[in-house]
Subunit: 266 residues, 2 copies
């Protein structure tokens, strides 16, 4: 009897060519799919692993979510141990749940939370080089903290979408944002929680906030960019390795934002 499992997992994106399976590339989906098929003693490619969405090469996850159907039932705690025993050290399965067959890791998403870490100071910290974007120039945290609030709400984010994004509506809702001045660690962290983000959207929004912090843009420039809906006005994209998928939300996880509005997205 087939059983559907929801898995929550962290990965260090440094040595992956992103989340999505690709031929001849080491990807998170590819590694997990291989492990699940091995555990089920199925020929490679029989069982599929479906993630909540892709992350780019170098992007990390603290809690990505996927589901798969397993041909025979195993208790969740055994599945957790079994998967971890087969995972490479750059993937950690943090939680396993048995879910109804109606659960879908991608179609059921009600929200996603991303974190972007900027490390400050004149020189790169060797221990953060894969886990933060290093920014050597002074940033005015107060300006960034003010500007990030302008992203909250339902907007057309066309100014913040990479040209490679799938066609379709650029309207998304950002539920909340947060700028954290982590002086002890010489970091500024930016958090974005919304119903979904398009290709490179978080990295482009972060780049605009960095430009505001450098006073290369006025503090209210996000309002203008949301109005003009033109990517040419926001050309920079921050590097992948500062970005973390922090959490994926499903119905019930956050009663305030419980709707599945955009069933298919990036």
């Amino acid at each position: 009897m087939t059983q559907r499992y929801k898995i929550t997992f962290a990965y260090d994106g440094t040595q992956f060519a992103g989340f999505q399976r690709q031929p001849h590339q080491r990807t998170v989906e590819g590694v997990l799919t291989k492990i699940v098929n091995q555990m089920a003693k199925q020929p490679e490619g029989t069982l599929g692993v479906y993630g909540s969405g892709r992350t780019d090469s170098g992007v990390h996850a603290l809690a990505q979510v996927a589901h798969f159907d397993f041909p025979f039932p195993i208790p969740a705690d055994k599945m957790l141990k079994g998967l971890n025993s087969m995972c490479p050290l750059d993937i950690q399965i943090k939680d396993v749940e048995i879910v109804p067959d109606t659960f879908h890791a991608r179609y059921d998403v009600t929200g996603k939370r991303y974190l972007y870490r900027l490390s400050l100071g004149p020189f790169t910290d060797p221990f953060k080089r894969f886990y933060t974007a290093h920014w050597r120039f002074p940033l005015d945290f107060g300006l960034m903290e003010t500007a990030i609030q302008d992203l909250v709400g339902t907007h057309n984010f066309a100014s913040f979408v990479a040209s490679g994004a799938k066609p379709g509506s650029r309207v998304r809702t950002i539920f909340s944002t947060k700028a954290i001045n982590d002086e002890a660690n010489h970091e500024i962290q930016l958090e974005f929680y919304g119903d979904g983000f398009m290709y490179n959207q978080v990295r482009i929004m972060t780049a605009v906030l960095v430009e505001i912090g450098m006073k290369k843009r006025p503090v209210d420039d996000i309002q203008r960019l949301l109005a003009v809906q033109d990517r040419q006005q926001a050309r920079l994209t921050m590097p992948a390795h500062g970005l973390f998928l922090e959490r994926v939300y499903y119905p019930g996880d956050d009663p305030e934002h419980n709707e599945k509005k955009h069933p298919v997205r990036d």
Copy 2:
């Protein structure tokens, strides 16, 4: 006119075959020596870089120290920028000082401080896999905290020295130790500050403390090991990648421990 520079630098030891120069290997000393000779426009191998001591393959440094003689004077801040601009991203020069020609990074050491990081929990955290030793079994922190105090003082540490260590006295002084229960990060950290440590000494002491935390040894077993002076009784060595050289001390840095007792050591 030759000028002597003292440099303080951090490195991520993951991709180095240790500190000490070796043919056909990427080492910290090798990389720095090459950079200093390039900056001085000297043929490779003309100028030498002298570290406070070696660290093993995989061991990290938050503040290692070295000195070198440069053929023409450059202000310290220019040297700092110049070196960092040529360093790979896994080495960061944190400080440069112009010092008298009598200063020697190795012979003048008055103390060293090491940190060992243990990450707890059933599975390896992908983001800590190169920067902590993962320990999946329960550890009694209170026992470790009590036992680590027994290392303080002047002792013969023969029970805690790897067989590959240089011959000579095994007597060293540990000025202070500290066990930190960092529950927020699921880590136990052990700190050792002394006048010098022999080959693998910190990693062997940490292994004994871990065995005490697991109740495989009595809490007062360090007293016995210091008395028997026999490495056969403490066979385990913790892995290199949990170890950080935290600070190197020179005369004046710590008025309480200001003596150069062992002019040549590991």
